[in-house]
């Protein structure tokens, strides 16, 4: 079924009886060419691009809960391509290009909105670091504009310019940055993959990975054994556990990241704003809620919930930067489980097991990477070679010292 405005109207006139399921609910088959473990954003986009780009459709996505139940179901939905280290730049640039065609490609409105992202800076040193970043973005072919204090004021007149703890010196505007409707991204990819023949199997937890003579043979699941020629692990939040089934110890520590949404409000914030000094970022959803977040709770956790010190820190940051949001009320807070890697960059690579691939370590930047991650993981699984824009996301780069550390905070997992 093709979605369109006309279809919405004709179905509306007919009592909305004609809408069909967005995806099938198949039982797992005994064998697939490819099994993707994990039905989150990255797993679904991997399956979609395996089918679309490589014609590999005998694919199963195994999801232990419901589709999109991981971090794609709980994030602050920021889409940006503002990295500066070679290895990251080209990847996120590629992802941005995919975002820009995603609605047309998926025939699904993921509400990707390029409202502009502004990173604020508060000292000469920070400005210089952002200028370096902005220039790298332009060198990559993306966009960046340096705003001085008055430039920021023009875009964001409601910030506290006079009395804030860290005076606003200016900002780096990334006009193509913005946000998207997170669930819709999962559903759009799911529907697209399903349409191309991929089996999306929910409530199917992988309990073991079958390896024979260094070659992957399939997986054990709560719905029985499934044979597969190739298996991809795409399970942010559980990467260490699933990789351990293949005898791997990953360079990952899992951390909780909280985020918040307020009650609905009439439009008041148009951009995505990032206040690095206070570890605070905010945007307003189309429904009207202010969606914002801060830093990790900082302790290793799988609880998917946080504690008050970071909650308060985030709120205090909001109050020092933009006290006009004081009377907005926080409606809901949640926590996602982040795969924190020792340099803050992800891994898309083969493993020591033939036919077993892994896509993990997205830290807290995984949402914007969903299209390119799937694209590159599909490329790797289909061809056996890394895609050129993901070639530096190697599993062994920590041992060899070829780090991609945008923050410069070093090998401590929770500092990225």
């Amino acid at each position: 079924m093709r979605y369109s405005g006309l279809k919405v109207i004709t179905e509306g006139l007919l009592g909305n009886k004609g809408w069909t399921p967005a995806w099938r609910d198949p039982a797992p088959k005994a064998e697939y060419d490819v099994v993707i473990i994990g039905g989150g954003g990255h797993g679904l986009s991997t399956a979609y691009y395996l089918a679309k780009n490589h014609g590999i459709t005998n694919v199963a996505v195994l999801e232990k809960g419901y589709l999109g139940s991981g971090n794609i179901g709980r994030n602050t939905t920021i889409v940006r391509a503002n990295y500066f280290l070679p290895g990251n730049s080209e990847f996120y640039s590629h992802s941005m290009k995919l975002w820009e065609g995603l609605e047309a490609d998926l025939n699904y409105n993921v509400m990707h909105s390029q409202r502009g992202l502004i990173n604020l800076f508060h000292s000469d040193g920070q400005r210089d670091a952002f200028v370096r970043r902005g220039n790298a973005m332009i060198n990559q072919g993306d966009d960046a504009i340096l705003l001085d204090r008055d430039g920021v004021r023009e875009h964001l007149p409601y910030l506290d310019f006079d009395n804030t703890r860290f005076p606003i010196y200016g900002g780096l505007l990334h006009p193509r940055g913005g946000s998207a409707r997170h669930d819709a991204v999962a559903w759009g990819y799911a529907r697209g993959a399903d349409k191309r023949g991929v089996d999306l199997i929910q409530n199917c937890e992988v309990t073991g990975i079958d390896i024979d003579g260094g070659v992957v043979r399939g997986v054990q699941t709560t719905r029985g054994a499934i044979r597969a020629k190739k298996v991809g692990i795409v399970v942010a939040g559980r990467s260490s556990q699933v990789a351990a089934m293949a005898g791997m110890r990953l360079p990952i520590e899992s951390h909780v990241l909280q985020a918040f949404v307020t009650e609905g409000l009439k439009p008041v914030i148009n951009h995505v704003i990032s206040f690095g000094m206070g570890h605070f970022y905010i945007s307003q959803s189309d429904k009207g809620g202010l969606v914002f977040g801060g830093d990790l709770d900082f302790y290793a956790s799988y609880a998917a919930r946080g504690n008050l010190p970071m909650v308060e820190h985030v709120m205090e940051a909001g109050m020092t930067l933009m006290p006009m949001i004081g009377r907005a009320k926080v409606l809901r807070s949640w926590g996602g489980i982040m795969d924190m890697s020792p340099d803050g960059s992800p891994i898309i690579d083969k493993t020591h097991v033939d036919g077993l691939f892994i896509d993990c370590g997205w830290n807290y930047g995984g949402f914007k990477a969903v299209p390119a991650s799937g694209w590159c993981m599909a490329h790797l699984m289909a061809t056996g070679e890394s895609h050129e824009v993901a070639a530096k996301f190697r599993l062994d780069r920590f041992a060899t010292g070829h780090l991609l550390d945008e923050e410069g905070t070093g090998s401590q997992h929770n500092l990225h």
Binding site: P167, L265, P267, V314, M315, S333, G408
Partner: protein
């Protein structure tokens, strides 16, 4: 309509307030909702999506419809529950989410378009043309969506946060909570009793009941009086416990000043962090609506709310009331209304076996199937068998039974348990360690059950605390709770589940039809439960409809997760103290006032405030001042406050050995009285920090760190010490705050310093000596961050200001004066000294040309990891100097001249730049691939953001006095 003789309002204290521009009167004790209903105002809001007329549904914080903006003199508060806002003299409120007036909302057109606005419609359209999304569709959607408005002005209100501790936290003051608080309170345990409302008593204030042989109100008053008299009990009214967190921590929001006109210093709200050894959850239950066609008209209310308005506020929201309920308990409201002289037109009870004996018509086995009335209810249609009965009514009290208020028990991922008997979810025991749910919150629906379970939970907590108490539980009603679950009445029209987000049974069924069968998918697809009430009025019914649509049971269908906060909390309350400068401590130098006296703009650096430059008359830009200050240091003498550098006093026989371990180079061989530059790595081999350490005595060193890394280095040293060498003879402590330290630099520095000292000293370069200045013991270091002969003079902090003023005054007599951060930066760039602009966390000792400082003779932190292949080699960018005659900028990237500019051709980047009055050129420090081998090459510097494209010469990073003759002079 107000009823004489009823309610707990203070009729001697009338209050005037304003709603939508019209003045009304209420009484002290009224909420905005009760006062509006008393004034026969039924229409109070518009719904989220269809802009349907809406009235008050509930009498509590779960209210989905009656959300208003409260307008203050300088600001406004959106989405205030009229059911929680107490009226006060001068209160101004207005309706929200409307285009035009509340009665004629232009966006009500959406209601007519509803067939096209079904669940998830927006995912299927607005995709073409692409550019129209940001330009057209999204702005329209955004404007139509949202609820109330922020003013856009800074919130200048006062807010506070506070901590509290107790043995037993009791959440809710209904019968269960009061009984628990009384039991724990009498035992002598420290008790905090939180009640969301302004009055204690919970449903005992709303339902005509008898407790312990007396009217419930009297019993409440008695218990409250006793609790107030107990010194170990703290009663917190107007306080909602909003979240349960780890290890007995609870968040709670107290409405301190929201029920009063604003007063200086009086907090609007206080966000509490309560730490409790035990907690008793006595949060009661929430009555649930029934979905039937057009069940959302103003005048259709929860039965319990009608009862609350009658008994607590003396208000009846209609003249001809009808009741649609599936429990015996709900009958009470009809009886009480009739007793108060209000006409009850009919009772509609879907239970075929229910009693029909009442003093009004009763339709058993019947259901309400529809309603009429554009801006307020005027009648309902009742289906009894095959018959449809029209009943005129302006207030329908409805009840579909009760949902225990279990939210807090789920805040730590606990899943509730489905009870078939109650047709509701009840808490899973132990879901929040230390928290026990009692009373209706735990499914004990009678008053007797509440009292007994509240008492028992408190007793258990008291015993665990090692205390004893004996309290008798009073007699109370113990009516069995018997219901026939009724979620949605069959019909073809729109029947609302989620009033706040306009989600109907059709939407839920459509979600199921489209494959969104998981309860989480349904929620996300329809947005049911995502409105300000977070599904308090709709979750269970919606999932019952979903269960039905997917052919599953409710238990099997599951439930979405309740997360904090229980009720929304303002950002300002949780962020109290963060406003303006409160976000982080401010650190001030002793020279702060002296610098400001000289007109120096102060800049923030690592929480400190430091002078940027010291302007002189005639200077029009910072550069004028900076250039002068640089020349002053190069030619005469300059004074700068460098007290912000971290200073760590390290003592012990193993102090040298310890420094050898944390620095790449060796300090154990440093002679007493000498200073050495040291480089510190992180264990991953990258540079952590640099600085000098002085050997003050055989077993005594003083380490300095950069300003930015002072805390980091201290933590690092503590770790290395405690983790790897706790048995060594070494102890250290920060003395950053103990010493004020001033750099004196320039050819005349020695003369200036010696004019101060009681006994002049001749220090070699990198020497240190104790000195006496004006009777005070100080220290003199001969070190330099400028490239000139330089000293740093330190005295106990109390003398800092005096010393700075004196030093500056003397310098001025020698043609010198103070210099600020700008000049300091230029001086260090000219000399090729690095700061955290260069050691930004991604550089190795090798990158900055200091690989020789990594001693081969000993192990040190970071040494091994620095040998990884990726940390070496010509592919890495190395520190270089850049020199040119055109302005250049930090953050620019470097390219080979005449090559294309893009990522693949990028050769490096610039970290620091300055105009050098000394060299007469623009200088830069930067990192260039294989840079050390490229001195003398031309390189192209490109800064797109500032429009710079300049050819520079690559050179050694030390531009000034490369042999260091001046330093050693």
């Amino acid at each position: 309509m107000r009823i004489d003789g009823k309610g707990l309002i203070d009729r001697t204290k009338p209050v005037r307030f304003r709603f939508d521009g019209k003045d009304y009167a209420g009484y002290k004790g009224d909420t905005l909702a009760s006062a509006l209903l008393a004034n026969d105002v039924r229409l109070v809001g518009r719904s989220f999506k269809y802009h349907r007329p809406r009235g008050v549904l509930t009498a509590g914080s779960e209210e989905p419809n009656a959300l208003v903006e409260v307008v203050g003199p300088s600001n406004q508060t959106p989405n205030v529950r009229a059911t929680m806002q107490e009226v006060f003299e001068g209160l101004v409120a207005q309706s929200q989410n409307r285009l035009g007036s509340l009665r004629f909302d232009l966006l009500a057109v959406n209601d007519y378009l509803s067939p096209f606005l079904s669940a998830g419609f927006y995912y299927k359209t607005f995709m073409w043309p692409r550019a129209f999304w940001e330009g057209l569709y999204e702005p329209i959607i955004r404007r139509a969506a949202g609820l109330g408005s922020l003013s856009g002005k800074h919130d200048e209100g006062t807010y506070e946060k506070a901590f509290a501790f107790c043995d037993v936290l009791v959440i809710g003051s209904g019968p269960a909570g009061l009984m628990a608080a009384l039991t724990a309170g009498r035992s002598g345990a420290d008790v905090i009793l939180c009640e969301e409302s302004h009055a204690l008593g919970g449903r005992l204030l709303s339902d005509n009941q008898t407790v312990g042989g007396m009217p419930a109100g009297e019993w409440v008053a008695q218990v409250v009086a006793e609790l107030q008299a107990l010194p170990n009990v703290r009663i917190m009214a107007r306080t909602t416990v909003t979240g349960a967190y780890d290890h007995g921590t609870y968040g709670a929001l107290e409405r301190v000043g929201l029920h009063k006109p604003a007063r200086p210093n009086l907090p609007r709200e206080c966000f509490w962090r309560i730490v409790a050894k035990h907690a008793v959850l006595a949060s009661g239950a929430l009555e649930r609506p029934v979905a039937f066609e057009n069940n959302d008209r103003p005048g259709i209310m929860m039965a319990s709310a009608v009862r609350t308005y009658l008994n607590r506020y003396g208000v009846v929201p209609g003249k001809r009331v009808t009741l649609f309920a599936n429990t015996d308990q709900a009958r009470g409201v009809a009886r009480e209304l009739m007793a108060a002289g209000v006409t009850v037109a009919a009772i509609i009870d879907p239970r075929p076996d229910a009693s029909s004996v009442e003093d009004c018509p009763v339709h058993v086995g019947a259901e309400v199937v529809g309603s009429r009335g554009r801006l307020g209810l005027s009648g309902i249609q009742v289906r009894k068998g095959s018959e449809i009965i029209e009943i005129e009514t302006d207030c329908l009290a409805m009840s579909g039974g009760w949902n225990p208020t279990i939210h807090l028990t789920c805040h730590m991922n606990g899943r509730p348990r489905w009870s078939e008997e109650l047709a509701a979810f009840v808490p899973m025991e132990g879901a929040v360690p230390g928290l026990v749910a009692v009373g209706a919150a735990n499914g004990s629906m009678s008053t007797h059950g509440a009292l007994v379970t509240g008492h028992a939970a408190a007793l258990k907590a008291v015993e665990a605390l090692g205390r004893k108490v004996s309290v008798a539980v009073p007699e109370a009603e113990d009516m069995p709770y018997r219901l026939k679950a009724l979620w949605a009445v069959e019909g073809t029209g729109r029947a609302w589940l989620d009033f706040a987000n306009d989600v109907t049974t059709k939407d839920v069924k459509l979600a199921a039809q489209e494959g969104f069968r998981s309860v989480e998918h349904m929620k996300r697809y329809t947005t049911q439960g995502m409105a300000p009430d977070q599904g308090k009025n709709s979750n269970v019914a919606a999932l019952a409809v979903l269960a039905d649509a997917t052919g599953r049971g409710i238990a099997e269908t599951g439930v979405t997760t309740f997360r904090p906060p229980f009720t929304p909390v303002s950002i300002a309350a949780m962020g109290a103290g963060g406003r303006a400068e409160g976000f982080a401590p401010q650190r001030f130098l002793t020279s702060d006032q002296a610098s400001r006296d000289r007109g120096a703009p102060m800049i923030e650096a690592g929480l400190w405030y430091r002078p940027s430059y010291f302007p002189k008359p005639g200077e029009t830009t910072w550069r004028d001042a900076c250039d002068r200050e640089v020349n002053m240091v190069r030619q005469a003498v300059g004074v700068a406050d460098v007290s912000t550098l971290g200073k760590i006093d390290i003592q012990g026989k193993d102090a040298g050995r310890f420094l050898d371990f944390v620095y790449t180079n060796t300090f154990s061989t440093l002679p007493v009285g000498r200073v050495r530059y040291g480089l510190m790595l992180r264990e991953d081999g990258l540079v952590l920090d640099d600085g000098t350490s002085a050997r003050l005595g055989q077993d005594h060193y003083l380490m300095t760190t950069t300003t930015a890394a002072a805390g980091l280095v201290m933590r690092h040293l503590d770790f290395v010490h405690q983790a790897f060498c706790a048995d060594w003879q070494v102890r250290f402590i920060s003395v950053t705050e103990s010493w004020a330290q001033f750099a004196v630099a320039g050819p005349k520095a020695r003369a200036l310093v010696n004019s101060f000292l009681e006994v002049p000293v001749e220090l070699p370069f990198m020497g240190v000596a104790p000195v006496r200045i004006g009777g005070v013991d100080g220290r003199l270091f001969r070190i330099s961050f400028s490239g000139e002969e330089g000293y740093e003079l330190s005295v106990p902090t109390r003398y800092g200001e005096a010393l700075f003023r004196d030093l500056v005054a003397r310098a001025e007599t020698m043609g010198g004066g103070p210099y600020g951060m700008e000049a300091l930066n230029v001086l260090r760039i000219e000399k090729g000294f690095i700061t955290h602009a260069e050691i930004h966390g991604r550089v190795t000792a090798h990158d900055i040309g200091m690989e020789k400082m990594v001693s081969a003779k000993k192990d040190c932190i970071g040494k091994a990891a620095a040998t990884r292949p990726g940390m070496w080699g010509p592919e890495r960018e190395q520190l270089v100097g850049l020199k040119t005659h055109a302005p250049i900028s930090a953050g620019a990237h470097l390219f080979v001249p005449a090559t294309e500019v893009h990522r693949e051709t990028d050769q490096g980047y610039v970290t620091s730049v300055c105009w050098s009055p000394t060299v007469g050129a623009w200088l830069g420090l930067g990192f260039l691939k294989d840079g050390r081998a490229r001195h003398g090459e031309k390189i192209r510097l490109v800064d797109h953001l500032r429009g710079l494209d300049v050819i520079c010469e690559v050179c050694h990073p030390v531009f000034h006095d490369p042999e260091g003759e001046k330093l050693r002079a």
